[in-house]
């Protein structure tokens, strides 16, 4: 019995716990979390380790000596905002299932939980309440505002020829139009529909994701914070982070 106790103690010794979280975690949505256990023992493997963190559990049959084992589990994390991983536990009933040994880890690493995206029935058209149009869009198109009048080069579609101006000049003049599809949008959180704060940020997250998916630059205005429109992934995460912490301070 004493020997089995020593084996149980050795089994759980020198194991490091860490969690690999995805960039995007949405409140209450299934997220794939990777639990990573590292056996730092030089000579002996560890067996039957059960790891748990924030209600997520997974088991490892064996972690060979000096190696790392990973297990991906689906988790639902509730509540938006910046969170700490906090307490994690590993436990093992090895070797003979008479006693279970535990080891706790306090992990101070932070992660952001974005608001759950929720469709708030905002039509794709612009000029709606809560959506501000940027004055001059620089992205070329065919259905937006007229950006400028340029000389006809032969490449422009005939429908863009400004006939009246062309009549006053020697050559043809064409209208250079902005694209209404890629028209930058700035979300004003105070004007977004939804009613409650949570609904507003959920709506914001939904719109951010939708517009960027459409390759449409999105910016954000919340109180004194103003983020210029862009379409990059980093920018999207920045917006979502802003929405996650909105109203939390």
């Amino acid at each position: 019995m004493a020997i089995s106790g020593v084996f149980g103690w050795l089994n759980i010794r020198r194991i490091e716990f860490s969690v690999e979280l995805p960039d995007e975690i949405y409140d209450g949505r299934d997220t794939l979390v990777t639990i990573r256990l590292e056996n730092r023992k030089k000579f002996i493997p560890s067996f039957l380790i059960r790891a748990e963190f924030t209600g997520v559990r997974t088991g490892f049959t064996m972690i060979p000596r000096n190696s790392v084992e990973k297990a991906a589990v689906s988790a639902k994390i509730h509540g938006r905002g910046i969170k700490k991983i906090g307490e994690a536990t590993i436990a093992s009933c090895f070797p003979i299932n008479f006693f279970i040994r535990y080891k706790k880890f306090i992990i101070t690493e932070e992660y952001v939980v974005f608001p759950a995206p929720r469709d708030c029935n905002v039509p794709p058209g612009l000029g709606q309440k809560g959506l501000l149009r940027e004055p001059f869009s620089r992205v070329k198109g065919s259905d937006g505002d007229v950006l400028k009048i340029i000389d006809y080069t032969g490449n422009e579609p005939l429908k863009l020829i400004h006939w009246r101006l062309s009549a006053k000049h020697e050559g043809f003049k064409v209208k250079e139009m902005a694209s209404s599809a890629n028209e930058p949008v700035i979300l004003d959180l105070e004007c977004l529909p939804g009613g409650s704060l949570e609904r507003v940020v959920s709506c914001g997250a939904f719109l951010v994701n939708r517009f960027i998916r459409q390759n449409r630059p999105v910016g954000l205005k919340s109180g004194t914070v103003f983020i210029s429109p862009d379409t990059s992934r980093t920018h999207r995460l920045k917006l979502l982070t802003q929405l996650a912490v909105y109203g939390k301070n």
Binding site: P45, L48, R50, M62, C93, P95, F105, I106, T108
Partner: protein, 633 residues
């Protein structure tokens, strides 16, 4: 991939076989049959994955078996029914599905059965079974844990090997501990084995009476009676004296309750020292090489006829030392009570009487008469046998005149009886003749089939003369080698030597020895002195040891710069407070403090970076400042 369930099933069968094997021969025939049938049926059921007998039926069966054997338990017969109960319960469990609970029950019942086997047999095989059992049970428990957790139901072979190796290392590590516990665990002065086997148990030893014609045959049992550590002797000297039977009660020779006062002595001769290890027996008589003059190591008294009688509690495994003189006669100062040694039973046959008369007339002195009688035995062409012994009303008469075949009892009693009729005092000596010398252990092995009876005849002027009439048999030489030959003999002797050492070191290790060991250890520690030889050893061993120690310590406490020292202190303190703070090849100090919100740590890192990453060494005041910052964490 190997299914864990399959491994568990195989292991549980191994466990139950190892538990039952040592007691199998001691079980009732019914119990043996039940066990073997259940074992086979259990394997078939498990292979088919279907268990045909209902759980309730098995429970009822268990109860029936339990009461059947429980009713046989008595104060005289406690062990055997208890073991039969265990084995029948185990057999019933084998028929059930091998669930975790059932498997654990089988393992526990097997363990109890194995433990129970030590109550019926104290042989070295117990150790072998115990070690194998421990190995199997350790592996079984570990795999049972894997199965119970349900993480995986099958394991790949390399993993399986790793798990098995880890599981096996548990009992292997515990074996030396077992030895330590064996040495120190307190023992009772009166072993449990003796208490539980106080009666009803077959014990070895010679008979305290000789009654020729009481049975048609003699057992040829190879049960060990005793082992005698001694130098190798000539075969003719291997007479082990046990008891002297001086009275004839009808056809039976017994030892009279009243001792004759005789002033006996043994002439100087070749002295043989023996240490005798008898198997547990109820006989108070201590056998030793003929003629034993002194026995020590056990409380015993010597009778004038050189019979040593034990005064200690019976049946305890003991050993004693004996000093014997290889002499053919016991000298007598003064006279003996001849009348006592000449009594013959009424109804001695006419043929015996006339034979005695005839031989008496042939010799003039007692010594000559004895010699004549011996010659008469030779001319009669008597043969030695242990089978078809005479069983008539007068077996001695039948032996001498018609059957002419018998064992040592017939030879000795007929010779002694004839001597008494001839007027020469005689008495029988019971003991053993022969012994197989074990070169490995340096001892004689004496078995039950070596039990022997010879006689002593009183010759005026000389004393008690030893005579073995069995030697007059025509076929006596064939009786010499009874221990087998060739490889079989070698293997048997080797096994016996192992058993001998087992008995010496383990079985006879009692409270007394335990106290002795403690005392010796204490004395050894107190009187520890270094001789010149041991000093030389120290010169050779100590310097390399010091070098090794120095290397280890240097590695551990090697010179560290102030920069490294303070950094180590900082990281240690930081990790104490923030266990998951990471610092390594891919994580710098700045990254590390960024992940934690500690102003003191941040301040330390900024200051450290400012003073260390320069082209000069750290100053003392800077070190003190860093130390102060680290202490604030």
């Amino acid at each position: 991939m190997v299914k864990i369930k399959t491994i568990l099933t195989i292991l549980i069968y191994c466990i139950c076989i190892l538990g039952v094997a040592p007691v199998f021969l001691y079980l009732d025939v019914i119990c043996r049959l039940i066990f073997v049938t259940s074992l086979i049926a259990g394997i078939i059921f498990d292979r088919k994955g279907r268990h045909y007998i209902h759980g309730l039926a098995l429970t009822i069966l268990s109860i029936v078996f339990f009461f059947y054997y429980a009713l046989r338990i008595s104060s005289d017969n406690l062990v055997s029914p208890a073991i039969n109960i265990l084995v029948t319960l185990l057999s019933v469990r084998l028929l059930t599905e091998k669930t975790g609970r059932n498997c654990m029950q089988i393992a526990v019942l097997s363990l109890f059965t194995l433990a129970g086997s030590s109550l019926v047999n104290l042989g070295i095989t117990f150790l072998l079974h115990l070690v194998l059992f421990l190995l199997c049970i350790a592996v079984f428990l570990v795999f049972q844990t894997f199965y119970a957790t349900g993480i995986n139901t099958a394991i790949c072979v390399p993993d399986l090997k790793k798990i098995a190796a880890t599981a096996l290392s548990m009992p292997l590590i515990s074996l030396p501990l077992m030895l330590v516990f064996f040495m120190i665990i307190p023992r009772t002065e009166y072993p449990l084995w003796n208490f539980l086997n106080s009666s009803g148990q077959k014990v070895t030893g010679f008979s305290e009476k000789v009654q020729p014609g009481s049975s048609t045959g003699v057992s040829e049992s190879k049960n060990v009676v005793f082992r005698a550590q001694s130098r190798r002797l000539a075969d003719k000297d291997l007479y082990w004296r046990g008891i002297v039977l001086d009275t004839m009660e009808g056809k039976t020779w017994v030892r009279s309750s009243v001792r004759e006062h005789e002033n006996t002595f043994v002439e100087k001769g070749s002295t043989v020292h023996q240490t005798i290890f008898p198997e547990p027996n109820t006989s108070p008589y201590l056998p030793a090489l003929n003629l034993p003059v002194n026995i020590s190591g056990v409380q015993a008294g010597r009778d004038p006829d050189y019979t040593f009688v034990r005064r200690q509690s019976r049946q305890k495994r003991v050993k004693y030392d004996s000093v014997s003189v290889l002499a053919d006669f016991i000298g007598i100062h003064g006279r003996i009570n001849k009348e006592h040694y000449l009594r013959t039973p009424a109804g001695t046959s006419r043929r015996i009487m006339s034979l005695a008369q005839k031989i008496s007339l042939e010799g003039t002195t007692d010594e000559e008469k004895v010699m004549r009688l011996g010659q008469d035995f030779v001319t009669r062409k008597l043969s030695y046998t242990n089978n078809d012994l005479p069983r008539s009303e007068d077996p001695i008469d039948e032996f001498l005149f018609s059957n002419k075949a018998g064992n040592c009892e017939f030879f000795a009693t007929s010779f002694a009886q004839l001597l008494r009729v001839m007027g020469i005092p005689s008495r029988l000596v019971g003991g053993y003749y022969g012994g197989t010398y074990n070169d490995m252990g340096g001892y004689y092995l004496v078995t039950e089939d070596m039990a022997h009876v010879w006689l002593e005849a009183y010759v005026d002027g000389k004393g008690w003369l030893m005579i073995d009439p069995s030697r007059f048999a025509t076929n006596y030489a064939q009786r010499e080698n009874r221990f087998g030959t060739g490889l079989f003999k070698d293997v048997r002797l080797m096994m016996d030597a192992l058993g001998y050492y087992w008995n010496q070191t383990v079985i006879s290790y009692d409270l007394e020895k335990q106290v002795q060991v403690l005392k010796k250890t204490n004395d050894a520690v107190r009187g520890l002195r270094f001789s010149f030889e041991s000093r030389k050893l120290i010169y050779f061993v100590f310097p390399p040891f010091l070098c090794l120690l120095f290397i280890i310590l240097r590695k551990k406490f090697r010179y560290t710069s102030l920069e490294e020292k303070i950094l180590r202190t900082f990281i240690k303190k930081l990790r104490q407070k923030y266990p998951d703070a990471r610092y390594g090849p891919d994580t710098g100090l700045h990254d590390m403090v960024k992940s934690i919100d500690d102003p003191a740590a941040r301040q330390f890192v900024e200051y450290y970076a400012g003073v260390v990453y320069r082209d000069r060494k750290l100053k003392r005041n800077e070190y003190d400042r860093l130390r102060e910052l680290a202490d604030r964490i």
